[in-house]
């Protein structure tokens, strides 16, 4: 049994947003304003003209952190949000009552209401689309031109992600909340 996570060389991101398009295409996410499983945040350049710090402008690809201690799972009244066998945070649409408590509880804004199923949707690391078909990469990873994303098994010491995390310094988002996220930003 694997424990999937993702490392992001975010400094290589060029904000082309091919990942956003690939995710929507692969997972059939609707083309509506609030409908996105992943996104690229923009940290704008700091300073006043002419002293603008070019280096301070960075892009931050992000998505569900697949927390090991997920607040969204904890607050779900019907256990519709659950931990999958590979440690991923999943949603069972049959049990979801659309109380949207999980959207309130998620510190990462990773959840939204899917207008097709009228349940709360989120990133699944393409488990029901690509991984189920035998692929070993997610759509966002496969399409990335600058190889920002590295997806893999955190419990396998030989996996690319484990090797990367063993050799590089990284940081995580809002880890002070005790969520134990599984997205790692390589610095």
């Amino acid at each position: 049994m694997a424990r999937y996570g993702m490392a992001l060389n975010y400094k290589s991101c060029i904000n082309c947003r091919a990942c956003e398009s690939a995710c929507k295409e692969e997972n059939g996410v609707l083309l509506l304003k609030d409908h996105y499983r992943i996104w690229v945040g923009v940290k704008e350049a700091e300073g006043e003209f002419p002293n603008i710090s070019i280096a301070s402008q960075t892009y931050h690809p992000s998505q569900c952190q697949h927390c090991s201690n997920a607040p969204c799972q904890m607050v779900c009244p019907t256990n519709a949000t659950y931990y999958g066998t590979d440690g991923m945070v999943m949603v069972d649409p049959v049990k979801c009552i659309l109380c949207t408590y999980c959207i309130n509880a998620c510190p990462y804004d990773a959840r939204y209401v899917d207008q097709r199923t009228m349940t709360v949707d989120k990133c699944t690391f393409c488990s029901d689309t690509r991984l189920a078909a035998g692929e070993t990469t997610t759509a966002c990873q496969a399409t990335c031109p600058t190889k920002v994303r590295v997806f893999g098994d955190l419990d396998d010491p030989k996996s690319e992600i484990s090797q990367l995390l063993a050799n590089k310094e990284y940081r995580q988002v809002k880890e002070h909340l005790g969520t134990k996220p599984k997205l790692f930003y390589i610095v």
Binding site: N79, K95, C106
Partner: protein
């Protein structure tokens, strides 16, 4: 129980106040059903809730109604459960009010929860025991059962011991349910402005205040401001209790705000500063909900019952803003996780204003309460039965 017929049911004295209440009730009730019809046609598209602001007016109104219910239950228990003689007369009226308000709350929330039937099934089959919503919902279901039984043994088949037993059960389960409702917000680790012990405790306190306001309103309407001595004595005492509770609430609020602002903690301080500058807080919640009723009670030494009844109307408007603020302020701060400028727009405080459908269903719920109260008052004798208490 009174004997009643349809003719009797719709007969009432045509005084200006009665007519005003009748028009208000019918208008709000019509708004409720119109809102529900629009929701059935358009689903959640009829609401202004978004990914960034997933809860809105309907959650606020649900909280408004269940706070009213718990408050009435707690205040009625002063006489009915704890045996304070002067308060025994409010038992039936308050418990009827508690049943009516929580039913209205359930009616409103049924149109906010996307799949209420699925909820009833999977609440039982796969309960989420770490979820405050699960505990709140389940305990409120139990609470409604207990207070219905309490009312049955108070007003239909009078049995003092059984009504007291169910009264105690209703009170305890109601307190547990209500503090769990506070925990629904207090447990949100993602929202520093709401996270913590404050809400579960404050919910009980504000429920008691809401209960007092509603008792004043129900008695003011029942006796058209000409209170018999026995009622006058009870209301003066209730007024003193209300004054003390308001003082405690103001004290709580001051320290909540100071603690939130102190040290300029990220997310929390900015959110609370933004919230307290809005008229919803300083005019609605603070002035109408707390300061005016408190001043009336303080200046009259709790003797001005008529003025307190009028102040209770303002108080309930303030309580509405209190509930609205609870939901809106919790969701004010955008979850800007690495989204410094999502889609080229700098993140600001999340904006939300309810849609017409949300107003229709939410405020229409008040019409539902008024209508049910009118029926209850016709069908049952909600005044104290002579010799009912020993």
């Amino acid at each position: 129980m009174n004997t009643f017929s349809l003719k009797k049911l719709f007969f009432f004295e045509k005084t200006p106040l009665n007519l005003l209440m009748a028009v208000l009730t019918v208008g709000l009730l019509a708004a409720f059903f119109a809102g529900v019809a629009n929701y059935i046609l358009h689903g959640h598209h009829a609401y202004n809730v978004t990914r960034q602001h997933p809860w809105g007016l309907l959650i606020s109104m649900y909280v408004f109604f269940v706070v009213s219910s718990t408050g009435l239950c707690i205040i009625s228990s002063i006489g009915h459960v704890f045996g304070i003689k002067e308060f025994q007369q409010i038992g039936k009226r308050a418990i009827a009010g508690a049943i009516i308000t929580i039913s209205s709350g359930f009616a409103v929330i049924a149109f906010e929860i996307g799949h209420p039937v699925t909820m009833m099934i999977y609440n039982v089959l796969t309960p989420g025991l770490t979820s405050a919503i699960w505990w709140m919902g389940t305990l409120y279901g139990l609470y409604l059962t207990f207070i219905c039984l309490e009312f049955f043994f108070l007003a239909v088949k009078e049995h003092h011991t059984l009504s007291k037993i169910f009264g105690i059960c209703g009170l305890l389960v109601g307190l547990a349910a209500h503090s769990n409702l506070g925990a629904v917000f207090g447990f949100l680790v993602s929202r520093p402005s709401a996270n913590g012990v404050f809400y579960p405790v404050y919910f009980i306190l504000s429920a008691m205040i809401t209960g007092c306001y509603l008792i004043f309103l129900m008695y003011g309407f029942r006796y058209k401001m000409n209170f018999p001595d026995k009622v006058q004595v009870m209301l003066v005492k209730l007024s003193k209790i209300l004054g003390m509770l308001l003082a405690v609430l103001i004290f709580f609020e001051i320290w909540k705000i100071l603690t939130a602002l102190y040290g300029d903690m990220p997310e929390r301080a900015a959110t609370i500063l933004h919230a307290v500058q809005h008229p919803n807080f300083w005019l609605g919640e603070l002035t109408l909900g707390m300061l005016i009723p408190f001043t009336v009670i303080l200046l009259s030494n709790a003797q001005a019952i008529k003025a307190t009844v009028y102040a209770s109307i303002l108080g309930m408007v303030g309580i509405f803003f209190m509930r609205y603020g609870l939901v809106h302020d919790t969701l004010l701060y955008p979850m800007t996780t690495l989204k410094r400028a999502e889609y080229e727009l700098a993140p600001t405080f999340v904006e939300y204003f309810p849609s017409i459908t949300e107003f229709a269903i939410g405020l229409g719920g008040i019409g539902l309460s008024l209508f049910l109260y009118y029926i209850a008052d016709k069908v049952f004798n909600l005044d104290e039965t002579e010799g009912a208490h020993h």
